[in-house]
Symmetry: C2
């Protein structure tokens, strides 16, 4: 089914693309391999953490009430009843006017309800002088204060950070259920496109997009499968898309830069499934296709790398996140002041490449079709469809690469 | 040599740690595997890119001077002398009052010096009417406009982004010289520390730091080698450090939380090399050691995961960057307004865990020694040593995780 649709707003294109995606299945991995993977189910604590009353300082466990009014001039005096060793528990109970030495991380003995820091204590023979009052619970953690039994420690949908992995270790989870890595199939098309190791003939260009797309998808935690540079010939493209559709969770078709080539892409995707969006009110990136091959979501991307990259950030990124089951917002947005006017046409979202230094955003002079701006810029300034650009001095939000 | 030094400012600790590190050696990788690796040498373009005069639109190549004064009412009229195909070059030269169709990305023929967009052209039989003037060079890219022969395309020291890999592909570099991944040796110490799959006895805790450190180092592009949980016993720690020092480019020793344990770490590092910093004016993270085992830089980290993580971000991160030959600043800093007062002691840098939502930073109530704040916060607010905190409404900079 070929539908020639009108250009749609970015928001709608994203809605359609994410609507086509379904989270992939799951697998179990050891936590030392889990960083960067997406947690598939909430992980809860089996037991309280730390599970015992833990001192946060090197000091003396005491009854807080017995330090009321203590000062350097008139300290409270305690009998040193014992010393707690790390990892050995506190096998005694403190009575009135007794204290015990507890190292940082050690257990606070029964009978005590606070820890006075060594800095405020003086040891004289078998006695300890505490020169400052401590409050009930001071310098200690309660047994369930870090995580309580049954509490969600890391929620489903989180792309696991090093800290998350640390928290999983803390509650004793040696392995976790994560989403498998989505497999993204990548096809390059265009008669003008030659492999990277070929010397381009006159007016030919090297295949940049397949490298750009592979690196982008892997950065987002996907596996990639490359189906080569397909000639602008209906049978070849159809065969490649059919194979890729059977083997992958999503497809990215990097178009040639000519209109004929793009139309071939759209017709072939339509024949094998459907084209739902054909053209986005987005610059650069307008000639984008959102569709499916069978039930597999497929994006037809503009031929030029700079345009393709904007579409990857704005449309493909959210789609890959849904496939990955990833609900973490890891986008890097910063606010900055504009150093120059940025004109823009009303009615489309413009993404302007900018550098950001010391809070100042400066547009990179980027003629359409140049690749160097992608390497030189730090990110993209989005000009909403309803605006005719921004002025020097405006505070803007930049999406860092 | 044991040197008991006084607490040093964060800046000095970072200077010492980075001064101990030397960039590791290099290896050659295919560019499809190069994303995230650090480029070891400047990569320059062998030839101009695109290497031919390339149209950035679908349109008609013309002599700009022949469109002066053109309007819809009074268009300039050209004879359609030919059509350029993608990737096939433009094997003809335009004469006066001649034009040629050129698709986006196609070569602009000799004789022409601009391209008029199809939107401003009308074809009538063998003639094309151009209804708007174009300037010299409009809608086309010059042969060396993306990259000129000899120009640096991606500089040494860059951790390669997807876009960088795309640029390498564009200039035909199928492989590049990158730094090998530094090998970081990780040791956990502490008698109270048990493996993750063990049920902690009373007042024992699981080994969180080795997981946190492995994930952190891998996120920074390093390989890691784990030397296990070493008992607080001089011979065991010494043997493990000697082995690790022979096998690794840097060492991270996660201390137990007690003072005795930390002192053992410092003495052992001093015996095998030197301790250069013992204590940093940093909270959390004060009991940190910067030293070397032989010539291999070694950090002794505080036992508590939250403190360790701050030291990793603030001190170890820059050290690993030097080892990696990485000069890219990929830190994620955002400006935000404080929702609450943040008190701090003058004379030390405080790193306060905060959430950031819609431009507002809110401190996470984080008792020293709690792990949950690392999972719940979005990043760290740095309070410089010279300040006594911040007030509600202050604009602050947050280092996102």
């Amino acid at each position: 089914m070929v539908r020639f649709l009108s250009v749609v707003p970015v928001e709608e294109a994203v809605r359609v693309a994410t609507g086509l995606a379904r989270p992939v299945g799951t697998e179990v991995v050891q936590i030392e391999e889990a960083a960067g993977r997406v947690l598939a189910v909430d992980v809860t604590a089996d037991a309280d953490l730390p599970g015992f009353r833990r001192s946060t300082v090197d000091g003396y466990a005491v009854r807080a009430s017995e330090t009321i009014g203590a000062s350097e001039a008139l300290p409270s005096i305690f009998r040193l009843a014992g010393r707690v060793s790390m990892g050995a528990g506190a096998p005694f109970t403190l009575g009135p006017a007794e204290c015990a030495y507890v190292p940082t991380g050690g257990e606070v003995p029964e009978g005590a309800n606070a820890v006075a820091m060594v800095e405020h204590a003086e040891v004289l023979g078998g006695e300890v002088l505490i020169g400052r009052p401590v409050a009930d619970g001071e310098n200690m953690i309660l047994p369930d204060e870090d995580f309580a039994a049954g509490e969600v420690v890391v929620p489903a949908g989180r792309r696991l950070s090093p800290q998350d992995v640390g928290a999983l270790a803390a509650i004793g989870r040696g392995s976790v259920e994560v989403r498998r890595r989505p497999v993204v199939g990548i096809l390059s098309t265009g008669n003008e496109v030659v492999p990277v190791d070929a010397a381009p003939g006159r007016s030919e260009v090297r295949d940049v997009n397949s490298y750009l797309l592979r690196a982008f998808c892997r950065e987002r935690g996907c596996e990639t499968r490359f189906y080569g540079i397909v000639r602008d010939e209906p049978g070849a493209l159809r065969a490649a898309l059919e194979t890729a559709g059977r083997e992958c969770d999503a497809l990215l078709v990097s178009g040639g830069s000519s209109k004929d080539d793009r139309d071939l892409g759209a017709r072939t995707i339509a024949d094998l499934g459907a084209v739902l969006v054909h053209g986005i009110a987005l610059a650069p990136g307008k000639p984008t296709i959102v569709g499916r091959v069978g039930e597999v979501p497929a994006l037809g991307l503009p031929g030029h790398p700079a345009s393709t990259f904007v579409v990857m950030l704005v449309v493909a990124g959210p789609m890959l996140a849904v496939l990955s089951g990833d609900t973490t917002d890891r986008s890097r947005r910063v606010r900055a002041r504009l150093a120059e006017n940025v004109p823009s046409a009303r009615g489309r979202e413009d993404y302007v490449r900018v550098t950001v230094r010391d809070g100042t955003a400066r547009p990179v002079f980027a003629k359409s079709g140049l690749l160097n701006s992608l390497v030189r810029a730090d990110g993209l300034l989005r000009v909403p469809a309803g605006r005719e650009g921004f002025e020097t001095g405006d505070e803007v939000e930049v999406l860092l690469w």
